[in-house]
């Protein structure tokens, strides 16, 4: 029974494929695989906007929206109607073709990343041999869309915001990829399905997720920090902070194109969270061995919603990082930690299993953190300030 429920989407697709003539089978198979993703994730986007507003409200000692429908549940519909009916203002001197294509490219690139995420057992759109590489390749197209948006508006603020956003995205892409390299090293494959397969065992009731190892834990933390920066979310939302640069690179967009940018950004957040779940949190596997009867896609979406809640929680807690603080964090802390993590993963692989390798690996990973905090606690000698441009 649970097996049937688990594979219900796969069996439904196979049943539908039986009715399609052989000539159209490849195309129909592709469409039948893609359409559920195209429906499910924008729906999740709508739910996330509601969750975010209510969650942030409660964190900030206030109610979120509660007038549109019970508990404000119809708020996403109201937002959709508003963004569809707003006047679409394009600046006179803007590059109209590029201005139009930028949000389209952003949403397209964000959707492309979902092709390799295994949402359930046997439920991946395409099982590429180099799935993780494909995911990061699709993610790097987003930067081009950001540039297009910033440049085509022909406005100083949008250009500045676009430069900052691209710089931030590029700097955090390196730690993002390096944090996932440790998983690839351990799993021995670039295919997302194989990586999830590696995490399906249980010792007692505890799963073999990669996050429960020293290198996996650090890798997960670094991946999440880099993912927050990649999707321009607080505390890394300087390129789009309203009190800083008033929406940065999409300042000249209104109405539906703005909604598309919003959609693209959130879809990117979901895709990177999905990849984090696949790499570190065991994909569609259950967290304890006696709960494996719950269908696999339920587990994937539960973990996804949990990660989204963590994103919202962090957004409500931390202040925004300044541009130079952001870049310093990327190049001086996250990147060396990611490289050290790779060393630790290598040590873990070659040491015999047991308590010793746990201790050694944890020691290697914890040392820079302890040293860093010791350095922060030391009293700083204040330097004489020299101003380069103001004299």
């Amino acid at each position: 029974m649970t097996q049937m429920l688990d594979q219900i989407f796969v069996t439904a697709k196979l049943w539908l494929m039986g009715y399609i003539p052989a000539a159209a089978k490849p195309l129909a198979s592709a469409i039948l695989s893609v359409v559920p993703v195209l429906i499910a994730f924008p729906l999740l986007f709508a739910i996330t906007t509601w969750l975010e507003r209510k969650g942030l409200g409660r964190i900030q000692n206030r109610l979120g929206p509660n007038r549109t429908g019970p508990f404000g549940l119809l708020q996403p519909i109201a937002d959709a109607i508003k963004s569809l009916t707003k006047e679409d203002i394009v600046p006179l001197r803007a590059d109209h073709a590029v201005h139009f294509l930028a949000p389209v490219l952003l949403v397209l690139a964000s959707f492309l990343g979902y092709a390799v995420l295994p949402i359930g057992r046997n439920m991946v759109i395409v099982n590429l041999d180099a799935g993780v590489l494909y995911f990061f390749a699709a993610g790097s197209v987003v930067e081009l869309a950001v540039f297009m948006a910033g440049w085509s508006s022909r406005s100083k603020y949008s250009l500045l915001g676009a430069m900052r956003a691209i710089a931030q995205m590029i700097s955090y892409e390196v730690p993002l990829v390096l944090a996932s390299v440790v998983v690839i090293m351990q799993a021995g494959s670039l295919s997302t399905v194989a990586i999830v397969e590696k995490q399906t065992g249980y010792t007692g009731i505890f799963p073999h997720w990669f996050v429960f190892t020293p290198w996996g834990f650090v890798g997960f933390a670094l991946f999440m920090i880099a993912a927050t920066a990649e999707s321009n979310r607080s505390p890394f939302d300087l390129p789009e902070g309203e009190s800083e640069i008033i929406a940065g690179y999409y300042i000249e967009y209104s109405g539906f194109k703005f909604a598309l940018f919003f959609l693209g950004e959130y879809l990117g957040m979901f895709a990177t969270s999905g990849m984090a779940i696949t790499l570190f949190l065991g994909g569609w596997t259950a967290p304890v061995s006696f709960l494996t009867w719950i269908p696999s896609y339920i587990w994937f979406f539960t973990k996804l919603v949990t990660l989204i809640a963590v994103f919202i929680w962090i957004r409500g807690t931390l202040p925004r990082l300044r541009m130079d603080q952001l870049m310093n964090l990327a190049w001086e802390f996250i990147l060396p930690m990611a490289l050290l993590n790779m060393l630790v993963a290598g040590v873990w692989h070659f040491m015999p299993s047991g308590i010793l390798r746990w201790l050694v690996c944890t020691a290697i990973v914890a040392t820079p953190c302890v040293l860093f905090s010791a350095r922060l606690k030391r009293k700083k000698r204040l330097q004489v300030r020299t101003y380069i441009f103001a004299d």
Binding site: D129, A130, L133, A137, S140, A162
Partner: protein, 166 residues
């Protein structure tokens, strides 16, 4: 020679021809990016997953961004161009035709291109990694050294200003 190949080939040729013929520098770079994406799709269609995906990641994700950064920093935005196509398309077309003829002669006179059906690609990511670590480990290390030198050089250039004002 399936329909997919023709569509992708048309896309690539159109992209690169536009990159040659357009006047606005940013439009040229974006059209070139379309050409890069077309080439990557052709690689993927041939079954070379690693090369195709690396093409996207490196060319579209890094080289195109580098080009647009260069334009952003040096170009004055807002110049209105009355004409869409540049006036040098004749020279560009001649150069492109010359390069194409050389490449076509080289490919058609090689052995592998004339086999029909074409041999199945047997290179997987595992095989590439294997050969990088065993056969080609020396070029790999040299490339790593080169990249590290470039990174350190960039940091030194960026840091120079702070040293001056101390």
């Amino acid at each position: 020679m399936t329909a997919a190949f023709f569509i992708l080939a048309a896309l690539t040729v159109a992209g690169t021809a536009a990159a040659m013929g357009l006047r606005n520098a940013v439009h040229c770079v974006l059209a070139l990016t379309v050409g890069f994406a077309g080439v990557a799709a052709l690689y993927l269609q041939l079954g070379a997953q690693f090369v195709g995906l690396t093409q996207i990641m490196v060319y579209v994700g890094a080289v195109a961004i580098l080009a647009v950064f260069a334009i952003m920093m040096t170009h004055k935005p807002g110049e209105d161009q009355p004409r869409i196509f540049s006036s040098h398309w004749v020279v560009g077309g001649v150069v492109a035709a010359a390069v194409f003829s050389v490449l076509a002669w080289a490919i058609s006179s090689s052995g592998t291109a004339n086999q029909f059906p074409p041999p199945e690609p047997s290179v997987t990511v595992l095989a590439i990694g294997d050969s990088l670590m065993h056969t080609y480990v020396l070029p790999l290390e040299l490339m790593g050294l080169l990249l590290t030198a470039a990174l350190i050089g960039a940091v030194v250039i960026a840091m120079d200003r702070r040293e001056e004002t101390k």
